[in-house]
Subunit: 137 residues, 2 copies
C-alpha cells in the first residue's frame, strides 16, 4: 500500500465531511468497527468519542487503527487509511466534538453533560477505489 | 452488546444493498478495513473477494471480523455486526460475486478472468445508531 501524503484528489475527498468507519483491535485480537465523524487536518485524522466507548479502551491498549471513508455523494468511491493513534486527550470544553458537529450538522454538539475524548490518528498507508487518476472529483 | 437475531427494523435495513465496511485483523494485530458489497441471508453475511485481497489472508488466520453497514439513504443510521467467518470457499463459477453485483448494480460482475473467494460471516453481537425503536424505516 502506498504511503502518505495522499494524492490531491483523495486529499480533497477526505477533507469533506463524509461517512466513515473506524476499526480498532479488541484485547482478544478481534477487530471492532464503528461509524464515526472525523476531521482531516495536515494529514491527520481527528476522532472524538464519548469516554465510555469500547473503541477508546481499545486504542489505549493498541493504538493501531484503520479508517475507511466513503465519498458521501458517491459511495462507490472510498479511501482507507491505516495508521496509529498518536494522542488521546480529554475534550474538556467539548471544543473538538463541537468542531465535528458543526462540520457535519452545522450546529454545536447537542449533548453537553457527557465527557468526551479526542484521539488524533496518524495514517501510514492508504488505499482507494477507484485508483487515483480515475477519480474525477 | 445484544446478541442476534436483529430486531425486525434493523434486519430490514441490513437486507437492503447498503454501503458497508468489513474489518479484519492483520497477523501483527492491527485492524484493517475495506469497503465491501455484502448480502444478508438467514442472519449471515455474504462477503466475496478477489483471491489476492489482504483481508482474505487475514480471515484465514483469524476468522474474527466486524462489519458496519450504513443506511445508504440516511448516513446517520448504521448497524455494526461483530462475529466470525465460518466458511471460506472458492467462488469458482462467480455465482456469488454475480449475486452481489446484481444486487448492487443490476448487472453481473464485469471482471470474469479473476479468481474470487466467498466468505460467510456469522454475527454474534450487534449495535446500531439510532437504537431500535427510534428507527422509523
Amino acid at each position: 500500500m502506498p504511503q502518505l501524503p495522499l494524492p490531491d484528489e483523495l486529499d480533497e475527498l477526505v477533507a469533506r465531511a463524509n461517512p466513515a468507519v473506524v476499526a480498532t483491535a479488541r484485547p482478544d485480537g478481534a477487530p471492532h468497527t464503528a461509524a464515526t465523524w472525523y476531521d482531516w487536518e495536515n494529514g491527520r485524522v481527528l476522532l472524538n468519542m464519548d469516554e465510555t466507548r469500547a473503541r477508546l479502551q481499545h486504542m489505549r491498549e493498541n493504538p493501531r487503527v484503520s479508517v475507511t471513508i466513503f465519498d458521501g455523494d458517491d459511495w462507490g468511491r472510498h479511501v482507507t487509511l491505516l495508521g496509529s493513534v498518536i494522542s488521546i486527550d480529554s475534550d474538556g470544553d467539548l471544543a473538538d466534538i463541537d468542531r465535528l458537529a458543526v462540520r457535519y450538522t452545522g450546529q454545536p454538539f447537542g449533548t453537553r453533560d457527557r465527557k468526551r475524548v479526542t484521539a488524533w490518528m496518524q495514517p501510514d498507508f492508504w488505499s482507494s477505489w477507484p485508483l487515483p487518476g480515475s477519480l474525477h472529483l
